[in-house]
Structures are given as structure tokens and as C-alpha cells.
């Protein structure tokens, strides 16, 4: 059976062209110009390019001559590649439209986090230490000032800290406590992956006469280090970036929107999970130290009160030096955490 397709033939190595017809019978291809055969070839000596819906058939001959079909509908029977069949079916399009968001969701919430978790386990401790050292250097230079606390308060906190480390059998060389004044962080405390725990003057002043509450917060920070939370966050954001480049790199606007939403939601969930994990750790170890988890609730309540007061004040006086308590804003659902601490057995 012979098939005839209209198109243009381009001679090799020149822009010269003719309007021709291509006849295909079996595996013999002929380019015909007004009943005269210009080129004849067998299928194994030519390449059929571009089998994409809406793209005209292109045949490149061994010598570089090329035939391009006039209509994008013509195909050499019955040759429609598998990909082209999928791409031109409406059913597949609908199925894919449903599946794509599902798969992206699966990637963002399961595959990427799993990969990140696995890679964190593979990282040696020295990486966490050097990362902590380097970021501490930057944070200190940029946001921290020398403490203005009085020596006795500092000493009592350090004493308590050392006692807690000893009783909980934590590495004293790894975990160190540091006092700084910080306008940027306000009343806050944070831990770096190398075991450095920083607590600000502003926070200590609030909790000055409540050593157990201070201890509760310090334990919460230690938990972040013990569970490698910041390493896991870094690993996760890296895994995300890499996945974005590797898997979704070629999808332009699409991936940005979808992956962005997915990653943001996941990261929120993850950080909430990390916080409650750290809270639980604090509760458990407060009990181990012979204290009550209610100390944690107390710390939270004081912070919440303080926040209410400062936001009230900044509303009234329109003052720009609003010391919104950052500690709370990065840790949502404070009331829930307080209730949990109070009911912890």
C-alpha cells in the first residue's frame, strides 16, 4: 500500500527547496517532484523526527536533505509514537491534570522530607559544629550586643544550667550557655546546631525571679539541638531546592506556584512538629530534674502577657520601638502549649 504526503523538500547543504510529495510504500521512501523521483531511500537510512502532536512530519535523509510535511496531521501509517498518542488524548490530559498535583504533593510532603531525613543521618557531627560556629559568628556580629545583666543573675542561671546538664548526663563540652542583649531578637532564646544556647537579656529580665521557667526554656532549646532540628531544616530546604532544579526545573511558572505552596505548608507543619517535640522534651526532663512541667506554662504565660502589654502600648502611643515578642511569633498556638504543659504527666 502506498501512502502519499504533500510537503517541501530541502536539498542538502543549501536553502533551495521544492514543493514535492513523499510516497511511502513499505520501507521505501520517494520524494517526487512532478512525477520525477528526486530522492529515494529506505527507512533504515533516514531519520523520522518530531512525532509531537501539531508538529509536521520531518524526514531527514542520509545526505542531509530534508522533507517537511505541509500539514501537521500527516503521519506515516501507522506510526504514531506512544508519547504522541498520550499527548493527543483528552482522557490522558484529564488523568494527568489530576495526577500531577497529587504527585507533587507526594513529593513535597513525603519523598523530599524522607530524603532530607536520610541525609541528615549521614552527616558527621563535625558538619553541625562548623555550621553552628559559622552561623554564630554572623549572628553575633549582626544582631547581638554585650549583655548588661548583673553578674549574680548570670551566675545563678549558669549554675542551674550546669546542674541540669550534669543530672541529665548531657555533654558539658558541647552545650554552652551565652548571654546577649539584642534589640533585634527581643525577648528570645535560640540554640545552634553546635550546642551553643543563646538567651537574651530581655527574656531573662522577664523571668528573673522564676528560675524554673528559665530552665524550661533552656531545656526546650537543648531539645532542638538533640533532635538536630536546624540541620533537618537546612537539609530539607536544600532537598527542596535540588528537587526544584532537577525534577521541576523545566516547568517554569508551574512548579514555582505549586512547589512553593506545598513547601511552605510542609515547612509550617514541620516547624510546629519540631516545637511540640521540643516542648515534650522539656516537660519530660523537667520532671526528671524534679520540677513541674507547669514551669514551662509559667514561662509562656509571662511571655504572652508581655506581648499583650507591648502591643497595647504600641497601639496607644504609636511608638515605633515595638518589641513584639519574637519568641512567641515564631512559636504558634501558645495557649495550646500552655495547656499541654499543665496537663503533662
Amino acid at each position: 500500500m502506498t501512502q502519499t504526503i504533500a510537503g517541501v523538500y530541502y536539498y542538502p547543504a543549501t536553502s533551495q527547496s521544492e514543493e514535492v510529495s513523499l510516497t511511502v510504500s513499505g520501507d521505501v521512501f520517494n520524494v517526487v517532484l512532478c512525477d520525477k523521483v528526486l530522492v529515494t531511500s529506505i527507512q533504515t537510512r533516514l531519520s523520522i523526527a518530531a512525532r509531537v502532536p501539531g508538529v509536521p512530519l520531518e524526514i531527514v535523509f542520509k545526505d542531509g536533505g530534508k522533507f517537511i510535511a505541509a500539514s501537521s496531521k500527516d503521519r506515516i501509517n501507522p506510526l504514531k509514537s506512544k508519547a504522541e498518542k498520550l499527548e493527543s488524548s483528552w482522557l490522558t490530559a484529564i488523568v494527568c491534570t489530576v495526577l500531577v498535583p497529587c504527585f507533587i504533593w507526594l513529593f513535597v510532603t513525603v519523598v523530599i522530607p524522607k530524603m532530607a531525613e536520610m541525609s541528615v543521618r549521614l552527616l558527621p557531627d563535625s558538619v553541625a559544629i562548623s555550621m553552628g560556629d559559622q552561623s554564630f559568628y554572623v549572628i553575633e556580629k549582626a544582631f547581638l550586643e554585650e549583655t548588661e545583666l548583673d553578674k549574680t543573675l548570670q551566675e545563678s542561671v549558669v549554675k542551674q544550667w550546669n546542674m541540669a546538664l550534669e543530672q541529665l548526663a548531657l555533654d558539658k563540652k558541647k552545650y554552652t550557655i551565652h548571654f546577649f542583649k539584642s534589640d533585634y531578637f527581643g525577648a528570645n532564646a535560640f540554640a545552634l546546631p553546635n550546642g551553643k544556647v543563646v538567651i537574651t537579656d530581655e527574656l531573662l529580665q522577664l523571668l528573673e525571679d522564676k528560675p524554673d521557667a528559665i530552665l524550661a526554656i533552656l531545656l526546650h532549646e537543648i531539645a532542638h539541638v538533640e533532635y538536630q532540628h536546624s540541620m533537618r531544616l537546612v537539609a530539607h530546604s536544600m532537598a527542596n531546592t535540588i528537587a526544584l532544579a532537577v525534577v521541576f526545573g523545566d516547568m517554569d511558572g508551574f512548579a514555582d506556584v505549586f512547589l512553593g505552596i506545598g513547601a511552605a505548608l510542609w515547612e509550617n507543619a514541620f516547624s510546629r512538629e519540631m516545637e511540640s517535640q521540643a516542648d515534650e522534651y522539656a516537660f519530660k526532663h523537667l520532671i526528671a530534674l524534679g520540677k513541674s512541667p507547669a514551669a514551662f506554662a509559667q514561662a509562656m504565660e509571662i511571655l504572652m502577657e508581655q506581648r499583650a502589654r507591648t502591643s497595647e502600648r504600641s497601639k496607644n502611643s504609636k511608638s515605633t520601638e515595638n518589641t513584639v515578642l519574637q519568641y512567641l511569633s515564631t512559636h504558634p498556638d501558645t495557649q495550646q502549649r500552655i495547656d499541654k504543659a499543665k496537663s503533662y504527666q
Binding site: 547543504a13 536553502s15 508538529v55 501537521s72
Partner: protein, 360 residues
């Protein structure tokens, strides 16, 4: 100089020399492309990105083959494996780079310097690949820029632009455009380009004035409302007003971007030609381009990205409809590339691979 008059007389002389004006036609359809795209996205995801090389080739096939000039379509010739090879290399580097910069910033700086040295090579390689993979009338495009030239234009000049507080930047951008275009050829005919530095400065000055006017208006309004100057004003605004300011800013920014892109493109195309073969003209207008960009962005956001095929197709149509090419038909019919052995089946580009760097 009276440009209209100059163009007019040019038109007449063009006709005399055998030039015929053609519009670029684009026949892609959003519905067809949606089918191609969504299948490719799914396959790319479930193959962990490997299929994306095939996806790129199929997408480019669709767009080039649906672009027609003077009765002939363009062809995209790259093979998926060439793209995959470059992509694997890029990803290996990217992973190393991400690990190093996160965990050892000092080593990261050294790696960045190495990247800076490699950058011109990567750019040249990409431009060469991307040009060689496009053919029109069975004749390929090509890029002839050298490492040295790319180093000067993509590393040294931008540094110069930055240290002059961006005062030299319009000139630098002109030099970069000139470098890329004058090293691009169709078959053996190189593009010749004659860009005006003044035009670049004028364009960026207008863009700057638009931004300045926006900032001025906002602060004037702020002053009128509260009679105090400074950023505190914004913290006191209700969210609805703040949103309004945000939208106004985005609109201004879109308009500014449109001014730059439209002016530069129109200028560049009007002053570039394939000698003896073709002259170009771009008739973009600022409002229509700004409208295109803004509606594209809104469509992408509102559809969670699913409007991408529609956006891509209508953008391609917009570009095609506003680009005219005057072709010297006689010359175009007889381009000879025998000396270059321009065979599409040949393996002369087997070593070429795409490094996915897009410039210009």
C-alpha cells in the same frame, strides 16, 4: 534625525533591492500544547526529572515547527540525550555547590570563583548549542563567540557597570547585546548590528523616571495625609490601603519593565540585519506588552500554574505577530552551506550538549 522619513525611504530602497516584507506566523494552539505539556510534566515527575530532557525537546519542537516565515517552518534539531547530558553535569555541580556553601562557606567562595571563571565558557557553549539546534530552510543558525569575548562581556563589563554605580550599565547591556548578536549567524551569514548607546540610556532613564515618579507620588500622598515624612507612615496604614499601594507598585514595575523590554527590542531588531538576506522589525507597543505580562502572571497565579500552556502559546503568538522580517527572496533561495557540511544527520554536534544557560 527624522526616523520616520528615514524608514520610509529605506522601505522603498528595500523593495528595489528585492526585499519582501513578511510577518512571522505562529500556529500553535493552547489546547494541543496543554496535552503535550501535562503529559510531559507527569512523566518528568515520575522519572525524577530524567524525562525532562525529552519534555524540553518536544516542547521546542512544538514551538519551532509551528513558527512559519515566508512559507517555511523552523525546526528544532536537538536530541534529548544531548540535553540530558548537560543537565546531569549541571545538577552534579549544583549539588556539590549547595552542599559546600551550606556546610563550608570558605570552600564555597573558592567554588564561586571557579564558577565565575567557567561561566563565560558555559555561556558560549549554551549559545552555540541553542543556535545550532535551530534550522530554517534546512540551514542552521550558529554562534561564533569566543571564551575571551564572553569573559569580557559577561564578567568584566558587568563588574565595571556595578562599580560605576550602574551609570555604565546601559552601555554594558548594549555591549552584551552587540556581542551576542554580531556573533550569531544564519548559515554563514553573520548578523550585523549597529546599536545606539544613546537609545539604551534614554530607555533606562525613562524607566528610572517612572519609578521616581511613583515613589514621589506615594510620598506626596503620605505627606498630604499625615504631614510627616518617612517610612513610619506605612506602618500606620490599614491593610487595605497598604494592599492598594502594593498593587500600584506592581503595576508601576510591570509598566517599567515593559518600557525597557519594548524599547530595547524594537531598537535592536530595527538595527540588526543578515546582510543581503534579511532585515528585521519589531512593532511592540508598551501598553500591549505590559497587558500581556500582567495578564499572564494573573492567569498563572489564579490557575495554580495550569494556565502555563495558554500563557506560553499566547506569548509566542504575540511575539510572532509583532515581528516582521524583510527577506531578500532571491538570496534566501540560494544559501549555500556546502563548505560546512551542514547535515542534520551528521554527528558533528554529537559532542555538543546544552548547559541550560539562557542569556539575552
Amino acid at each position: 534625525m527624522d526616523t520616520d522619513k528615514a524608514l520610509d525611504s529605506q522601505d522603498h530602497s528595500n523593495a528595489a533591492q528585492g526585499y519582501i516584507s513578511n510577518n512571522i506566523e505562529f500556529s500553535g494552539k493552547a489546547s494541543t500544547f496543554f496535552g503535550i505539556w501535562i503529559v510531559n510534566v507527569l512523566l518528568s515527575i515520575i522519572t525524577f526529572g530524567i524525562y525532562s530532557a525529552w519534555a524540553t525537546v518536544r516542547t521546542n519542537n512544538y514551538f519551532y515547527s509551528n513558527t512559519k516565515l515566508d512559507g517555511h517552518v523552523f525546526s528544532y534539531l536537538a536530541k534529548p540525550l544531548q540535553i540530558l547530558r548537560g543537565r546531569i553535569l549541571a545538577i552534579i555541580f549544583f549539588v556539590i555547590y549547595a552542599l559546600v556553601t551550606n556546610f563550608n562557606p570558605v570552600l564555597g567562595i573558592i567554588l564561586s570563583l571557579l564558577l565565575l571563571i567557567a561561566m563565560p565558557w558555559i555561556i558560549v557553549q549554551s549559545l552555540r548549542f541553542n543556535n545550532q539546534m535551530i534550522s530554517y530552510r534546512n540551514v542552521r543558525f550558529d554562534f561564533h563567540g569566543t571564551y575571551g569575548g564572553a569573559f569580557v562581556h559577561f564578567v568584566l563589563l558587568p563588574i565595571l557597570g556595578a562599580i560605576t554605580l550602574y551609570l555604565a550599565m546601559p552601555w554594558v547591556l548594549k555591549k552584551i547585546k552587540h556581542f551576542v548578536l554580531s556573533n550569531t549567524s544564519y548559515g554563514e551569514t553573520k548578523l550585523t548590528t549597529n546599536l545606539s548607546t544613546g537609545q539604551f540610556y534614554k530607555t533606562f532613564l525613562i524607566a528610572f523616571l517612572i519609578l521616581a515618579a511613583f515613589v514621589g507620588v506615594i510620598f506626596a500622598l503620605a505627606f498630604a495625609a499625615t504631614s510627616n515624612v518617612g517610612l513610619q507612615f506605612f506602618s500606620a496604614l490599614p491593610p487595605s490601603t497598604l494592599t492598594l499601594v502594593g498593587v500600584a507598585y506592581l503595576a508601576t514595575f510591570a509598566f517599567m519593565r515593559a518600557v525597557v523590554i519594548v524599547q530595547i527590542r524594537n531598537h535592536v531588531l530595527a538595527n540588526t540585519e543578515l546582510e543581503g538576506l534579511a532585515k528585521f522589525k519589531s512593532s511592540f507597543t508598551i501598553p500591549s506588552y505590559a497587558f500581556l505580562e500582567v495578564t499572564n502572571m494573573l492567569a498563572l497565579i489564579c490557575s495554580l500554574g495550569f494556565a502555563f500552556p495558554w500563557v506560553a502559546i499566547r506569548s509566542a503568538r504575540f511575539f510572532a505577530q509583532r515581528t516582521q522580517v524583510e527577506i531578500n527572496t532571491k538570496a534566501a533561495n540560494a544559501i549555500d552551506t556546502k563548505s560546512r557540511q551542514d547535515s542534520s544527520v551528521g554527528s558533528e554536534t554529537a559532542e555538543a550538549f546544552d548547559l541550560g544557560m539562557s542569556v539575552v
